[in-house]
Amino acid sequence: MTDHAMNAGQVWYGPQAWSYFSIVIGIVMILIYRWFHVNALNATRKQLLAFTFSMTTYFFAMCSPLAYLGHMASFSAHMFQQSLMYMVFPCLFLVGVPSNWYAHWMKIPSVDRLFRLMTRPLVTVLGFNALFSFYHFPIVFDTAMSHPILHTGYHLLLQVTSFQMWWSMLTPIPEQSRLSDLKKIAYIFGNGVILTPACALIVFADHVLYNTYSNIDPSLQWLSPMDDQQLGGVLMKIIQELSYGIVLATTFFAWHRVERAKDKEEIASITMVFPNGGEA
């Protein structure tokens, strides 16, 4: 375990606390986006807004002391950060990127094939959920937390798979969409269901599961380890429910809108073909 000697004071300005590296990555992402926006096709207002929010989430989750707190002191902080990175950031990001920007990369056949493989619903539903659930095994969790390389690697994997999972729900490239609206709703729902066991087992555990949090600098503690653990599980569930719920609702209402539009078409055809009423 890294030095617990680090006291509260060092938290607030040290490179670990502010993850300078992640800040750099974030800035790079913004620059790339801006380049595209200016040189390729403009992003719409809604997409710009979504992207801004996604980057704000990113910076808050990865670059603020939240990440540090999550690793050192508080399971609930860690859960909060994770939820932001896998449940909020990816969907805002995907909504914020216009679909025709992907065309550049899709021109390369191997990239296209890789994409298609990685976005198969069966792959995505199992990938993220399995990795995420597995992560919360005490052994896996503690090991990952104590070895920085494993830790970064696993989190990167989680990030990629989370993007895959959200891809099927939000389908930025409509032409490649594999799921009908109804299927999408089932998919979102199914994902939420699959994630429940992991959260439930954490919330209802009767002892502290993770060694990582069993001896923390008391100045960084704000809840007892058990309460902290339970709060973490609850937070994770709530944020997950919220983000999935919102996407579920928007998908549902998008479906509804499409259906009502179909209605209008058919009604127009009636009045067109049978202006005086009558039989077929």
């Binding site: 095994f137 052994i139 109804l182 299927k183 199914g190 269901v193 429940t196 066991p197 439930a200 087992l201």
Partner: protein, 115 residues
């Protein structure tokens, strides 16, 4: 009456497709067997009830064999029960919902029986 040539094409197509499916079914069978053997082996020979937190303890073993059971169940569900084919949206939803409610019932009863 369909002409013979059409029918035979249909039969050939079906034969080809079903050979492919048969492979998946055998794969599911083998996987199920392997997972079952692993579960039994772990419980019979590996797990040491005396230890509390090591990888050979029940703390790891219990969730692990549960995971194996779930994986096996999923494979059987998806391949043997043809859930990977078209037109299985509602059946999938039905089983998913049923499983979810069953799981909720189990969790609540196990944790909250007032003992």
């Amino acid at each position: 009456m369909a002409s013979h040539s059409n029918e035979s094409h249909a039969v050939d197509y079906k034969k080809a497709k079903s050979k492919h499916s048969a492979k998946l079914h055998y794969l599911t069978f083998s996987l199920s067997m392997i997972l079952t053997v692993i579960s039994f082996y772990i419980v019979g020979n590996i797990i040491d009830p005396a230890r509390e937190y090591a990888i050979t303890s029940w703390t790891f073993g219990l969730p692990f064999i549960t995971l194996l059971a779930i994986v096996q169940a999923l494979f059987q569900l998806i391949f043997w029960m043809h859930m990977n084919e078209k037109g299985h949206l509602f059946p999938a939803m039905g089983i998913a919902l049923g499983g979810f409610i069953a799981f909720t019932a189990v969790i609540a009863t196990v944790y909250w029986l007032g003992w």
